[in-house]
């Protein structure tokens, strides 16, 4: 086990920089998720930790040792790939024991360590099969097993669940979390799925365009997003953003046509400043008639447990996730209200939290 320290790491292909100085600390035994839209550099960063991509600038340490120029095989890491990368011509047991065989361990030791890992993952009955005879979820577990068997300092996961169907993904999510709880190996996990990040991580690193937007515990990111990008990326459905101006007494903001949105605390921006007001769809509730924000409904999606309403307020799009069953139709005006403390304010120009 070991910590991973990434300091001011850069990656450039010629003049084109894909990672522009990233610093992330992964404490010993932590489960850190790198999340971001595709092309944000999260996979490249992971591959740099693995040693599959060269590091253009900065340093990466594993367990205190700088590993910039260390061969992948000498970094004492294990990686699980999106497509599992199982060797098709080897049995499950051979796949899992592959690294031990290369490390010249005895046959007995390989067999016992493979058997241990297989037991943890429920693969004992499949050891003599070939990868193509297994389902997607089982293959995923074999890939996990191959990593566990080595007992490495660090686990690296590159979107390991994105090839599974939705139901299996939820199940594997829980299994991965459970395995981590048991073996407590430092883990860096890459995904584009914010739900995976929220549910599995001790700490989330949100990336965009080669930089880190915010690092924090899942709920910290949800409650206090550092900017509009993190605010919209974390949480589903996405946060609503309304362009507003700060009122004279700074206790509320208002849209262009004067729809007032109260603030939980006094705004730090000067009166009249243009700001972005953010509110999560699940923080909107139905108001008593005549009060609240009048929303003209454009779309209604009942899911049974809740109703997702999309609408327009003062020319701006807004959506709400309501617990009630609503008997309304598009074109109706729905009055919504909110708890002032649940609102977020962002700078209109930079998107930074105020």
């Amino acid at each position: 086990m070991a910590s991973v320290e990434i300091q001011n790491v850069r990656k450039a292909y010629g003049d084109f920089e894909t990672i522009k100085g990233v610093s992330v600390d992964v404490p010993d035994g932590a489960f850190v998720v790198l999340v971001g839209p595709s092309g944000c550099g999260k996979s490249t960063l992971l591959r740099m930790i693995a040693g599959l991509e060269e590091i253009t600038g900065g340093t990466i340490r594993i367990g205190g040792r700088v590993i910039n120029d260390v061969e992948p095989k000498n970094r004492d890491i294990a990686m699980v790939f999106q497509n599992y990368a199982l060797y098709p011509h080897m049995t499950i047991a051979e796949n899992m024991g592959f690294s031990l065989r290369l490390a010249k361990k005895s046959k007995e030791e390989i067999a016992s360590r493979v058997a241990d890992a297989a037991r943890i993952l429920g693969l004992t009955d499949y050891l003599q099969r070939y990868p193509k005879q297994l389902s997607g979820g089982q293959r995923q577990r074999v890939a996990m097993g191959r990593a566990i068997v080595r007992n490495p300092k660090v686990f690296l996961f590159d979107e390991p669940l994105s090839n599974l169907d939705a139901k299996l993904r939820v199940q594997m999510r829980a299994e991965l979390k459970d395995i981590h709880a048991r073996i407590r190996t430092t883990t860096v996990y890459v995904t584009h799925d914010q739900i995976e990040a929220m549910t599995m991580a001790d700490r989330i690193v949100v990336m965009r365009d080669g930089i880190v937007e915010q690092v924090g515990a899942p709920l910290e990111l949800y409650d206090k997003p550092a900017n509009t990008f993190v605010a919209s990326f974390i949480g589903s459905p996405s946060m609503n953003f309304l362009s507003t101006k700060v009122s004279q007494d700074r206790t509320s903001v208002a849209t262009e046509n004067g729809i007032k949105l109260p603030l939980g605390s006094e705004a730090s921006a000067a009166p009249g400043t243009a700001v972005i007001y953010g509110i999560r769809p699940e923080h909107l509730t139905i108001a008593a008639s005549g009060e609240g924000i009048p929303v003209t409904v454009t779309n209604i999606e009942p899911t049974g447990s809740e109703t997702f309403v999309q609408g327009v307020v003062d020319g701006q799009k807004i959506s709400a996730q309501l617990r009630e069953r609503l008997f309304i139709k598009t074109g109706d005006v729905l009055n919504l209200t909110l708890v002032p403390a649940n609102g977020h304010l962002f700078d209109a120009a930079t998107g930074v939290r105020l």
């Binding site: 599959l52 990368a85 690294s99 290369l102």
Partner: protein, 298 residues
């Protein structure tokens, strides 16, 4: 409720039954027509071979008889004994076999290595090199056959299997075939996983890449073998002594005199067929199978 559903059974009407019979009959007829067609085509393709083998056992008189017989009335092995006795046919087959086997080994080895390198290590200079390799495929062999002959001559390897091999060590199509296979069926992650697991590059090639290319290499081996086995122009100029001929060159000699000895030519050809057919039967599975499953999520 379920019991009720289970007991509901609607009798098909007479019309429906007739319709079903009619469709089944039509399907049977279609299948029959396809079978008949395929049988005719395969007969047409087999017939020359059958006559070749039959002729080998015929007397000169029967060979010219009309209508031709498929099973000789008066089978003789005189043609075979004449061919085997008067010409070093076995020697020629041996030469061809040695030439074809060595050429196959060389082509499979060079194609596997070059194809893998071109497929997986794709940076600037490699692409230029690969383009050059492909370019050599465009140049007809006959163009550089004579310069190559002088090379063989100065190396002092004329009239030997090494001389024959000179033009048949590398096959640009083979490199191309393996490269495409590597790109298509060996994902980068497989190699990366092996590298992280501690495997060296040569180990990866031997234990991961080669087993996954088995199908493609098998197909290539068959192609390479027959390319050498049926080679004519190059052996013709390199092998000039009677004992160094390959079977192709040797067979051609039956026709170069003033007459064509059909009986002996047939007997020689029939003998030559044996190794070809054997090899094809052995490698047929590889040949047809092509690409091995990649074991990844499709």
């Amino acid at each position: 409720m379920t019991a009720e559903i289970a007991t509901i059974h609607i009798e098909p009407t007479a019309d429906e039954l007739a319709e079903g019979r009619r469709l089944r009959r039509r399907k049977r007829l279609t299948n029959l027509a396809i079978d008949v067609f395929l049988v005719i085509v395969s007969l047409l393709m087999l017939l020359p071979l059958v006559f070749l083998v039959a002729n080998a056992f015929k007397t000169p008189a029967e060979m010219l008889a009309w209508p031709p017989t498929i099973i000789p009335r008066d089978p003789t092995i005189a043609n075979f004994s004449a061919v085997l006795g008067e010409t070093p046919l076995i020697r020629w087959i041996g030469n061809s076999l040695a030439f074809a086997v060595l050429s196959t080994i060389a082509i499979v080895a060079t194609s596997a290595i070059a194809g893998y390198v071109f497929g997986k290590f794709r940076f600037g200079t490699m692409n230029v090199l690969f383009a050059l390799f492909l370019a050599t495929a465009i140049v007809p062999f006959e163009v550089y056959m004579i310069p190559l002959y002088f090379q063989a001559k100065s190396l002092g390897i004329l009239n030997s299997v090494w001389g024959l091999l000179l033009g048949y060590l590398v096959m640009s199509f083979g490199i191309f075939l393996i490269r495409q296979n590597v790109i298509h069926s060996i994902p980068d992650e497989l190699l990366e996983a092996a590298r992280i697991d501690g495997a060296g590059e040569f180990w990866i090639f031997l234990h991961i890449v080669l087993p996954l290319l088995r199908g493609a290499l098998g197909a290539l081996a068959v192609l390479a073998f027959f390319q050498a086995w049926t080679a004519f122009a190059w052996p013709m100029i390199v092998a000039t002594t009677r004992t160094s001929y390959t079977i192709e060159v040797g067979l051609a000699l039956f026709q170069t005199g003033f007459t064509v000895d059909l009986g002996r030519l047939s007997a020689a050809s029939a003998t030559v067929l044996v190794p070809s057919i054997l090899l094809f039967v052995i490698l047929r599975r590889n040949f047809v199978q092509g690409v091995a499953s990649t074991g990844l999520k499709e």
